[in-house]
């Protein structure tokens, strides 16, 4: 059941109506039932069973962790290993088989194709949808429980709701227990006109980004990526740039839809994007892009790794050999922790070396190199008398960051690391600036009018992002209840007259209906991040 489908709208309206008719004590139970039904419609009986077993085991373990058991550490490690193994074996079977086959080839052995296919199809049948999201949510919960950061949830229903709240069972955001504890239960949610309207507006905006912009960009991206041999030089840069915006509008659009639906229930979820293309460095970019994944890895991987015995020893070793204050120059333990985190980010995005490299170690490496080269850059700017407090320098940094990002991201879109490398080799094989002038852009699958619609829609997106960024972006501006979470653009819209707002959103709605890619020719229900 896709979020952009008639079934989901009907499902949502039924859930919503009953939700607000129920007393506060039963609202969370209703959400749990809705989540169970939603997940049931999105999985097979076998996958559903695996999901239930996963939740049960984690719930029981969390209870044990709170009981002051002597075997707390063993229980934690066991359930953690179980969760990670489940994720790895079900989600990455193909990838591990691939590595195994390559290793076997080195020793002149080969993997039996029938066995491989059998295991792959078995793991596919078992693998519950959205495992990459709910497993991280639950692992975070278990870790917090072990560290004593949270009060364990003893009610199995509430635990299950936290782990499977249905708007999240699409593509996140990856929530932490602390953020949600008081939102999902504990108080009666009354129907609020503002939450309903605000949430609906956000859903519309998300659908606009997905159906009007992202799907349109995908036509050109697919054309170039699928026939990259025919598109050398600047075409590859186009593809990279287009894909960056395609992914952004796809994923952030989905987040708008998810957050909008949840807001209508009176449950505000954490934001996942904060105008990332305004970032001046790659490190900043990733603090603004898929924020909850970065936050999760920081909390449960990076910090956790730093606390391990091995890292303590490493820090001692660095101190001994590099001297006091080594952190300021070569913070090797931190860099190592970063690389582990980035490796996992890459792996999380998919079982393939293209993911591990493109959105993993490449991004980590660039961030570390930037950090190391910071003094050098400072010297160069001083030497060349470059005023760094200017718009032009900020713009330069943003463009630089954008290019660094799209290079890595292009591997995400390419089916393999080899293809990604071939594409970039192709990018520098010819200098073809004429394609900017000879209407080549109209030969990539979108005709002139379609392309103009894309440009117009992107301009709307640009205006919104400028307003958003100029007013501080995500740092939420607090407005009086009952609308606690609104960003600057939405506050600006809210300040306008009712009729103006109505016309604005009707216009957006008409644009979606007319210009949206859906229906006969397109399958708009698949979001790129919905695969994980």
């Amino acid at each position: 059941m896709s979020l952009i489908s008639l079934e989901f709208i009907i499902f949502f309206l039924i859930i919503l109506t009953v939700y607000y008719l129920l007393p506060g004590k039963l609202q969370w139970v209703w959400l749990l039932i809705a989540s169970a039904v939603f997940y049931y419609f999105n999985s097979t009986a076998l996958q559903y069973s695996v999901f239930i077993v996963f939740l049960l085991l984690n719930y029981i373990s969390s209870l044990k962790l709170s009981s002051g058991s002597k075997h707390k550490k063993i229980i934690f490690r066991s359930i953690l290993i179980f969760d990670i193994l489940m994720l790895m074996t079900l989600k990455y079977t193909g990838f591990f088989f691939d590595i195994f086959s390559r290793c076997a080839n080195i020793f002149n052995h080969s993997v039996n194709g029938d066995i491989k296919n059998l295991i792959l199809s078995f793991s596919e049948r078992l693998c519950p949808p959205r495992i990459s999201y709910f497993s991280l949510i639950v692992i975070g919960y278990i870790t917090d429980a072990y560290w004593g950061n949270i009060t364990i949830q003893k009610n199995p229903g509430k635990f299950a709701l936290f782990a499977s709240y249905f708007p999240l069972m699409t593509s996140g955001p990856i929530i932490q227990y602390e953020q949600m504890e008081n939102k999902l239960w504990g108080k009666k949610h009354y129907f609020s006109y503002y939450e309903f309207i605000s949430g609906s507006q956000r859903i519309l905006w998300g659908i606009f980004k997905k159906l009007v912009i992202s799907e349109r960009l995908s036509v050109m991206v697919n054309e170039i990526y699928d026939h990259y041999e025919l598109y050398p030089g600047f075409y590859i840069f186009w593809a990279g740039g287009f894909f960056a915006f395609q992914l952004y509008t796809d994923f952030s659009g989905l987040m708008d839809i998810v957050l909008g639906f949840s807001q209508i229930f009176g449950i505000n979820l954490p934001e996942n994007f904060n105008t990332p293309f305004y970032s001046e460095s790659l490190a900043e970019f990733w603090r603004r892009w898929h924020i909850t994944l970065g936050g999760w890895l920081k909390s449960y991987v990076f910090y956790a790794v730093q606390q391990t015995e091995t890292f303590r020893k490493l820090r001692k070793f660095c101190k001994k050999h590099l001297g006091k204050g080594y952190e300021r120059k070569y913070n090797i333990p931190q860099f190592l922790g970063l690389m582990i985190s980035w490796f996992l980010i890459g792996l999380w995005h998919g079982g393939g070396f293209n993911y591990i490299f493109g959105v993993g170690i490449y991004m980590g490496a660039v961030i570390i190199i930037s950090e190391l080269c910071q003094p050098l850059f400072r010297k160069i700017t001083e030497l060349l008398h470059i005023n760094t407090n200017t718009f032009s320098y900020t713009l330069f940094k943003r463009i630089r960051t954008f290019f660094l990002f799209i290079f890595g991201l292009s591997f995400f879109r390419a089916e393999s690391l080899t293809k990604g490398l071939s594409m970039w080799k192709n990018a520098f094989s010819i200098f073809n600036p004429w394609i900017f002038f000879d209407r080549s852009i109209y030969r990539l699958g979108l005709n002139e009018s379609e392309f103009h619609i894309l440009v117009f829609s992107m301009l709307i997106l640009l205006v919104v992002s400028i307003l958003q960024h100029a007013n501080g972006g995500i740092p939420q501006v607090t407005v009086p209840e009952p609308c606690p979470q609104m960003n600057a653009v939405r506050i600006l819209i809210k300040q306008q007259n009712f009729l103006y707002r109505l016309i604005l959103f009707i216009a957006l709605f008409v644009m979606i209906i007319c210009f949206g890619y859906y229906g006969s020719e397109f399958n708009a229900s698949d979001f790129i991040y919905g695969r994980f």
């Binding site: 006109y193 009018s449 209906i513 949206g516 006969s520």
Partner: protein, 489 residues
């Protein structure tokens, strides 16, 4: 009290919410209407049908394009006073005919219902291509019949998508026109008939020896029987017809034979027009538009034969003097005029100058006549004899003149190389803009704008008028259409 209610925030919010829901619902309805394909392949037919005054349709014709291309409602009216309606859609299978009939009988109680049975022979498939499915279902109002018609027509994996019309029609924004907003083609005057105008000669088929039977598919037979039972339960006389066309395989006729057997079972009368070519006077050299359809000449012959049969066998009233049936008279007038247009174009294409000039000597046409300065044929009696009836006195006309003529009158004369002249008739406007280059070649821009409430009239066309020929640009005031330009040397 009212002031107090309005000042209450909750009430205010409820009102706002209702306005928002209303505005969005209105937008969806409007978009659905505007983006709907205005196709005379079935959608406009049923949409116009909904506009017919209750109890006025005496003969209802249902089925495939054989109905809307062959049953000329203008001829039925002119010759017999029958108020007929072609409630048909392209390639319509029986399951779609059933829902057209169900919708049809909701609003009218015809004296006879004629069902064309050709689709199983021509397109033997249980699931049509989506474009035909759309033309057969999207014109139906949003109700249970529409839902069921789409459901039975679509494959299970496409039903949900097809159920929401905008899924299939929203791409139309690239080609929106006045017609999409005004929907002239489904006006009350439209009775579903849409003639084919080409002429392709064929050898006369002979199917008299095809007496075998070919099974219908389970779905075809089921829905055929459902139609019969449904119509008979409503006590409306039903007639099956197999429309004339070039039958190429035995299987087609064998299917029709099977259908006639089923008709016999239910005592439903039928006419196999493929066995009546001579009786109708059908000439396969001149009467076929293409392999499947009759052209204008063919459909008139067919309709006259069918009309006579209906008058002879059913209690049909002649409504020709009844003011309630004014829209049938308007339809007939339109068909007559369309036939004139068709004949003018044919005469022009065949180079039959005499016939052409004879035909355009008609009060319903406004003619822009351009005689360039280099033209030397004004003394030729074969030209001048036709100019007089148009209102141009051969003694007074001269080269390098332009005339606007209507109803034997000269509305405007000018010897200027470049000019602009406009005419107004009620809410319609017609404008001719002439420009001449240094070689004496002119072009004429014709702009029409306005509405007779009948069909789209906003038009803009530019025609070339060579320096060595007399050119005639013809605008039809009945059809609200620029027929075109013809030149005579």
């Amino acid at each position: 009290m009212i002031k107090k209610i309005i000042s209450d925030q909750k009430i205010k919010n409820i009102i706002k919410l209702m306005i928002i829901i209303g505005a969005f619902s209105f937008t969806v309805i409007m978009m659905d209407r505007i983006l709907l394909l205005k196709s005379k392949d079935g959608i406009s037919q049923i949409q116009a049908y909904y506009k017919q005054p209750s109890g006025t349709v005496d003969a209802l014709f249902v089925g495939s394009s054989h109905i809307f291309c062959h049953v000329n409602t203008g001829v039925l009216w002119d010759d017999f006073g029958i108020s007929g309606f072609d409630l048909a859609a392209a390639e319509q299978p029986f399951w779609n005919s059933l829902y057209y009939i169900k919708e049809g009988l909701k609003y009218q109680t015809p004296d006879v219902l004629v069902l064309d049975i050709s689709t199983p022979g021509i397109r033997p498939t249980d699931y049509q291509p989506e474009n035909w499915l759309i033309t057969n279902t999207y014109g139906i109002k949003h109700n249970r019949n529409r839902y069921e018609a789409i459901k039975i027509s679509s494959l299970s994996n496409s039903f949900k998508r097809l159920l929401i019309g905008l899924n299939s029609t929203h791409g139309k924004y690239t080609s929106l026109s006045e017609e999409d907003f005004m929907n002239y083609s489904s006006s009350v005057n439209f009775k579903g008939f849409d003639a084919r105008e080409t002429t392709i000669p064929f050898e006369k088929p002979d199917i008299t020896n095809i007496t075998g039977r070919h099974e219908l598919t389970e779905k075809e037979e089921k829905y055929l029987r459902m139609i019969i039972e449904y119509v008979q339960n409503k006590n409306i006389p039903l007639l099956f017809i197999s429309s004339p066309y070039v039958i190429t395989t035995d299987e087609e006729q064998e299917k029709y034979n099977t259908i006639f057997d089923i008709a016999d079972e239910y005592e439903v009368p039928y006419i196999d027009f493929n066995k009546l070519y001579d009786e109708m006077g059908l000439d396969f050299n001149t009467d076929m538009a293409e392999i499947l359809h009759l052209n204008r000449s063919g459909n008139e012959k067919f309709t006259r034969y069918l009309g006579q049969y209906l008058v002879d066998n059913y209690a049909l009233t002649d409504h020709r003097n009844d003011p309630r049936y004014a829209s049938w008279e308007a339809d007939a007038k339109y068909q007559r005029q369309d036939t004139l247009r068709y004949n003018i174009i044919n005469a022009a294409q065949q180079g039959a100058n005499g016939k052409f000039l004879d035909l355009i000597n008609n009060g319903s046409l406004v003619i822009f006549c351009n005689i360039p300065s280099a033209y030397e044929g004004l003394n030729d009696p074969s030209i001048t004899e036709y100019l007089l009836p148009l209102g141009l006195d051969p003694d007074k006309i001269s080269a390098n003149n332009s005339y606007v003529l209507n109803n034997k009158k000269t509305l405007f004369t000018s010897s200027s190389n470049d000019f602009k002249i406009g005419f107004e008739d009620g809410n319609r406007r017609l404008m001719f803009i002439k420009k001449t280059d240094e070689n004496g070649n002119s072009n004429i821009q014709v702009r029409t704008n306005g509405s007779s409430g009948y069909q789209c009239v906003t038009d803009y066309e530019t025609f070339e008028m060579p320096a060595d020929r007399v050119s005639f640009c013809i605008y039809d005031t009945v059809l609200d259409k620029i027929i075109g330009v013809h030149t005579i040397q």
